[in-house]
């Protein structure tokens, strides 16, 4: 019946071609529409761990690294070279180091086959297989459901593949859309495979696609057909960890750990930096106030103005009696409480105790540890 279907479809298309001799062009391009589809899915379900099987030149992974819900990204491909080509685009940028983000993110690329099981693929929330299955040899395709649905068992699986019924509308496609394609399925073929797989591994599946057919040709369906699979049973923690002790068969070709404030090292740096910077601002304010009383009459009005704007920018700082910074001899003391009341410091640390803990030993404090201390002996009056 498959052959029959193909033939019917072919004729139907030929007729259509007679009528509309036009080249179908998708806007935005189809590959972008596929990526956008995945992105939308990520936005909707907010998975933390996402794996892309057949990640090729990592372009989908590159798009996904900007999705703030994702903390673990993994890519798998049978061809290491194609991954290596662009893998550096997945490295953190200078700015990621300068302003470490709240979320943590690890990106890993593995070299291996979807026909093999590797423990590094366990525990994912979303697994995407975009234009993957049609590249699989028959033997690989046979093992594929067991590996993805049986072993990896993520909550969501997305599988996209060409819809062969649409090919007749693509004028230059003779047999398959790409020489490496081992097959291209009709809607019925894909759906029956998907339903069978879903049934077998206790998933539900919804069908959709991207690349709308032209008006009057709705029957051929989407250019790319997509199946979204949802796991019906809840994942139990132990099933991930204990049941499957096994050897790693994939080779890791790339790993990037993004700087994150979740990492104590980066948090500490950020806090120290913010505390000292804030303290400097307060000190500067204090010193210029003192200067006002001294000898520089030219400057006075300017300072008054800048002082007012200053406090406005920094937010309403509640100044209590014991929070006043003060000068004693050659030392300026800026109470930690005052520093903690600044929104940025506050947001970073959360609690005052955390602040004290993070800066301990890294910032010069007063003897009782309640204030940041600066020695101003060697500073000239202008700075």
């Amino acid at each position: 019946t498959t052959e029959n279907n193909k033939l019917c479809n072919w004729m139907y298309c030929e007729n259509f071609k007679e009528e509309f001799r036009q080249i179908i062009k998708f806007e935005p391009p189809l590959y972008k529409q596929r990526y956008q589809f995945v992105k939308d899915l990520v936005e909707k379900y907010k998975p933390k761990k996402v794996a892309d099987l057949g990640c090729a030149d990592c372009s989908l992974l590159w798009m996904l690294k900007f999705c703030s819900c994702i903390e673990v990204l993994a890519g798998l491909d049978i061809c290491a070279n194609v991954m290596k080509e662009k893998m550096h685009t997945l490295s953190p940028l200078p700015v990621d180091y300068l302003q470490p983000s709240e979320r943590s993110l690890t990106v890993t690329l593995h070299h291996g086959s979807v026909a093999h099981k590797d423990p590094c693929m366990l525990g994912f929330d979303l697994v995407t297989c975009i234009e993957l299955i049609e590249h699989l040899e028959e033997s690989e395709l046979k093992k594929f459901p067991e590996v993805v649905f049986g072993f990896m068992a993520p909550s969501i699986v997305v599988i996209s593949t060409p819809n062969s019924e649409f090919n007749c509308l693509l004028p230059r496609v003779m047999l398959y859309r790409h020489p490496d394609h081992k097959f291209e399925w009709s809607q019925a073929e894909f759906q029956s495979w998907a339903l069978e797989t879903a049934r077998c591994y206790d998933y539900s599946v919804e069908f959709t696609g991207v690349g709308h057919p032209p008006t009057g040709m709705e029957k051929v369906g989407f250019c790319t057909q997509i199946g979204v699979f949802f796991r019906k049973y809840p994942q139990s923690a132990e099933s991930v960890q204990s049941e499957k002790p096994m050897e790693a068969v994939y080779k890791t070709v790339f790993k990037a750990v993004y700087p994150s404030l979740k990492d104590e090292k980066y948090l500490q740096n950020a806090v120290i930096s913010e505390v000292i910077f804030t303290a400097q601002i307060i000190k500067h304010r204090l010193m210029s106030k003192r200067q006002e009383y001294s000898d520089d009459p030219e400057r006075k009005p300017k300072f008054q103005l800048s002082m007012d704007c200053f406090s406005e920018y920094l937010g309403k700082v509640v100044v209590e009696k014991n929070m006043e910074p003060f000068v004693s001899g050659n030392e300026v003391y800026i109470p930690l409480r005052t520093i903690f009341s600044f929104p940025k410091v506050n947001r970073l640390c959360g609690t005052f105790e955390k602040l004290c803990k993070l800066i301990a030993g890294k910032v010069t404090l007063s003897s009782d540890g309640s204030a940041v201390m600066f020695n101003i002996e060697h500073e000239n009056e202008e700075n």
Binding site: T89, P94, P179, D180, F277, S306, E382
Partner: protein, 939 residues
């Protein structure tokens, strides 16, 4: 997007550029190349790098995101490869090395690159039938045949490089596109490149940069930095990344990697953060001006891609909600774009938009790029930061590495290279490897020079390259009397003023300077008070005015200088009270002030013995202003006497389209006329020290400028044919030398000459170390003799060059020769240099003078603003001229267009304490001033 140029900034910019350019289509930085209907395995997202230079060469296996042209690729011949000047000079064919001096064992930062015996790079042409347009498609089709071509390859779409020779000269391959089209690919061997060919050298550089990338170093600008171990300086919210500069070149005997440690200063705040704090500091009224002043010209990194942009303007009429036209023609707002493309939410919708002009086509983008302040991180230092002495001091701790530590850091890099499997594999595939020990060789320390002053002669300890102490005991060659002078100070500085006076009385007699008691004037510490006193008290017979300032406040200094340079031209000297407050250094300080004042009044200080007769030394420096226009400025000086103590000077400002050398030619003619007037004959030898030659400009110099010099000499008279030597001076070189002393590495002493191993075989070149540094590594100066009919031995040219290093009057230590001869005493009389700082002033100070003169008719606008409305400035060019006959200073003021603002205040500065070890840099006038002051405080 609205293209209205209503904003005040935009208005100014248009006036400022001689040919106002309409802002073209605004672009956002691109993320992905539009690639309709692409298949995933063939198409996908473009990396920023590739998009930038899609025509670049692709390099194999994981190297695809590098291209042969790489960053900065527009300067193709960056290392002046292929300019062979030595072959034309017969007398240095055999040898270009000197012989005098004491041997010294040196190591350097050069590492030998070795290749397999009989190594060659094979170049192929790749043709497609039918013709394929897209480069990506071309490479995808070609690399379907990896079994034939091999895994190691470099391909730019038509030229293919392989480390191996294919079986046949012509190889035919057949591929099929995803559309089922059959394509015949013809790979034809076109070239077999020996390891030393220029193409190969270019190729090594690409490979090496690629290796740095494989080591997970981040590319910022041209260099690679290690982000994993930053030094943070929380006091100033700065971060310093350690990185490397690298270049691979053919040196005397080997191809070597010259690697140096580089530091990148990054800032933990966004442009928006900076704007907020500026707003709080200056208030609404001056906010926009303050932003322009602080931000324009800075380099920013964007949050979403690895690119750097320069802020050229701030567009206050637009905000993130404004729309721009995408390459497909659709309109989109910035907010939407960043949300869609990068999932970035822009939180502040009221911020303006930053404008960056693209100098060249980047992929499919040209013209103007709009950036959102919130998404841009600042790099580098602002003017304000450079003025902040404490900040600079904190930075210097991390950035100025002493020799040992510098070599250790480099060793670490080489170690990474040796240890990384991927890197080693890549190198092996190409048949290349690096030595992990730097080369060592022998240099020479030439004999220290004798300093002459008024018949007396003294030696100094060349170890320290400083003869300040020696000068104190001996009269100057020509001292100017201080019969009548003013000393102005505030009440608070009364003691300091007296200390200075007493010290001057102690040091001046032995120098031969006659000094009377000055009129001591006490003023309030206000600018008006200073000016009032100057107006009232300056009379025609006053020799010099000395002001003691209590702080390094720029406005006060500027006002005083402006008045004393323009309204009432008279030599002046400003001194910071702080400088005079340390009893242990006061005598040194006073000596230097005395020397400087003497220079400013037209005196001559000392000289060295010049063995050649009738020799004229010419110094030329150029600055090409790439920031605000296409202007070029040249400073020209020529010696007028045997002892090389009197100088003729001119400044040439050339606008777009004109050749700088035309002006230089005129200068040389006038200089020769002046020489004739003084000496009743023409010089028989002329040495031109030409500075300010950028990378890749050597060819122009050789083929255009030198012939012009010769033309000029011919035009003087048919029977006049002096011997001419043209030497290109370069102070920004990557080479560093280390002396192996007592088992450790030290800076080589001044007078060290290197003319082997690390010089270039096709040039007559040498290095001289002419100064000493207390911290960090000393930078040698590179001298390249590009034309020479002097018939002098290389040794003599080297020694003459070193002698000239002593002729720098502002500072009694040796400085690079270019510096020495391009400075002129007249410069000193206008440009304030605080004493006690080791600074070599460059002829660009002429420009400074010009701008200072502009104040007289100009507005009182903040003097360090880069974006000053040109209309507020007079269109005047001023040339300071030293009237040798009359022995006084005068100005030539002529009509000139508004170019002056564009050449505004650039001063090149040499400072021992400059924070980056590449000690030469163009600083804005303000920075320069600040550094002067901060250096004072170090002493």
């Amino acid at each position: 997007m609205q293209q209205g140029m209503a904003g005040p900034l935009r208005g100014r910019r248009q006036q400022q550029q001689q040919h106002p350019q309409q802002l073209q289509q605004l672009h956002v930085p691109p993320a992905q190349l539009e690639d309709p209907g692409g298949h995933r395995h063939l198409h996908g997202c473009e990396t920023p790098l590739q998009e930038r230079r899609p025509e670049g060469l692709q390099v194999s296996s994981g190297l695809q995101d590098m291209s042969l042209r790489d960053r900065g690729g527009r300067r193709r011949d960056f290392h002046d490869l292929g300019v062979n000047t030595r072959q034309a000079m017969v007398h240095v064919q055999e040898s270009k090395t000197g012989f005098s001096g004491k041997m010294i064992k040196l190591t350097t930062n050069h590492f030998r690159l070795t290749s397999r015996p009989q190594w060659a790079l094979y170049q192929y042409h790749v043709g497609y039938s039918p013709e394929m347009e897209a480069r990506r498609l071309r490479s995808a089709l070609l690399f379907q045949h990896e079994e034939t071509i091999g895994k190691t390859h470099a391909f730019d779409g038509s030229i293919l490089f392989l480390p191996k020779k294919l079986e046949n000269k012509v190889t035919e391959l057949f591929s099929r596109t995803r559309n089922g089209e059959d394509v015949k690919i013809t790979v034809t061997l076109t070239n077999e490149l020996p390891p030393t060919s220029p193409t190969c050298l270019q190729f090594y550089n690409i490979i090496f940069r690629r290796l740095l990338k494989m080591l997970n170093l981040q590319q910022i600008g041209r260099n690679y930095y290690n982000p994993s171990d930053p030094v943070s300086i929380p006091n100033h919210r700065l971060m310093v990344w350690l990185g490397f500069t690298s270049s691979i070149l053919q040196y005397e005997e080997n191809i070597m990697l010259c690697a140096d440690v580089s530091h990148k200063v990054l800032r933990g705040e966004t442009v928006l953060d900076t704007m907020h704090s500026l707003h709080s500091q200056v208030g609404e009224e001056r906010f926009r001006d303050a932003c322009a002043k602080e931000l324009i010209g800075l380099i920013v990194l964007t949050k979403y891609n690895n690119r750097t942009y320069r802020i050229d303007d701030i567009d206050w009429d637009n905000n993130p909600k404004s729309t721009f036209r995408k390459s497909d023609g659709s309109e989109m707002s910035f907010v939407e774009y960043y949300k869609k493309q990068y999932n970035i939410e822009i939180s502040d919708w009221m911020q303006p938009v930053l404008i960056s002009q693209m100098k060249r086509k980047r992929g499919n983008i040209q013209g103007t790029v709009a950036l959102i302040p919130e998404l841009c991180s600042l790099t580098g230092l602002t003017d304000k930061m450079r003025n902040d002495f404490n900040m600079m001091k904190d930075l210097a701790i991390h950035t100025r590495l002493p020799p040992e530590q510098r070599q250790r850091e480099l060793g670490r890099l080489l170690n990474y290279i040796q240890k990384d499997d991927n890197v080693q594999k890549e190198l092996r595939n190409w048949g290349l490897s690096f030595d992990n020990k730097s080369v060592s060789f022998t240099g020479r320390i030439v004999q220290g020079e004798k300093i002459f002053q008024s018949g007396a002669m003294f030696d100094y300890n060349p170890q320290f390259a400083d003869w300040t102490k020696e000068t104190r005991g001996v009269p100057l060659i020509r001292s100017m009397p201080m019969d009548s002078w003013l000393l102005i100070y505030t009440r608070r500085n009364y003691d300091v003023a007296n200390t200075l006076l007493q010290s001057l009385f102690k040091v001046t007699p032995s120098m031969g300077i006659h000094m009377n008691r000055p009129s001591m004037i006490e003023v309030d510490d206000r600018t008006e008070a200073y000016l009032r006193v100057l107006q009232q008290r300056i009379t025609p017979d006053i020799n010099i005015v000395v002001c003691i300032l209590s702080s390094s406040r720029k406005d006060k200094y500027d006002a005083i200088k402006k008045y004393l340079c323009t309204d009432c031209p008279i030599p002046s000297q400003c001194v910071l009270a702080r400088t005079l407050s340390k009893p242990q250094t006061i005598m040194t300080v006073a000596t230097k002030i005395a020397l400087q004042m003497n220079c400013k009044m037209g005196g001559e200080l000392w000289s060295v013995e010049i063995p050649l007769k009738q020799v004229m030394i010419v110094g030329i420096d150029c600055y090409h202003d790439t920031v605000s226009g296409k202007q070029s400025i040249a400073g020209f000086v020529a010696s007028l006497n045997q002892s090389v103590t009197r100088w003729f000077s001119r400044c040439v400002v050339q606008s777009r389209g004109q050749e700088l050398v035309d002006g230089i030619k005129t200068c040389l003619q006038s200089a020769l006329r002046n020489w004739l007037k003084w000496n009743k004959s023409l010089p028989s030898r002329i040495f031109v020290y030409r500075d300010g030659v950028g990378d890749g400009q050597l060819n122009t110099l050789v083929n255009y400028e030198v012939p012009q010099f010769l033309d000029c000499l011919k035009s003087i008279g048919t029977d006049y044919s002096p011997r001419l030597t043209v030497i290109v001076v370069k102070k920004r070189v990557g080479a560093r030398f280390f002396a192996e002393i007592g088992g450790g590495l030290r800076n080589p002493p001044p007078g060290t000459v290197v003319d082997t191993v690390v010089t270039r075989p096709e040039w007559y070149d040498f290095f001289v170390v002419s100064q000493t540094v207390k911290n960090g590594c000393v930078a040698p100066t590179h001298y390249n003799v590009i034309y020479d009919t002097s018939q002098l031995k290389p040794d003599h040219v080297q020694r003459l060059t070193y002698k000239l290093c002593h002729m720098y009057y502002n500072w009694s230590v040796s400085a690079p020769a270019g510096t020495a001869c391009t400075q002129h005493t007249s410069i000193c009389s206008f440009m304030e240099v605080e004493p006690c700082c080791c600074i070599a002033l460059r002829p660009l100070l002429h420009t400074q003078l010009s701008t200072e003169l502009c104040f007289s008719c100009g507005t009182s606008a903040a003097t360090n603003t880069r974006h000053v409305s040109p209309s507020a400035r007079p269109s005047t060019e001023c040339k300071p001229v030293y009237d040798v006959a009359g022995g006084h200073w005068s100005w030539e003021v002529g009509g000139f267009a508004s170019v002056l603002v564009l050449c505004w205040g650039y001063v090149e500065l040499f400072s021992q304490t400059s924070i980056n070890n590449r000690q030469y840099k163009f600083y804005k006038y303000a920075d320069f001033r600040a550094l002067c002051c901060s250096d004072c405080m170090l002493i």
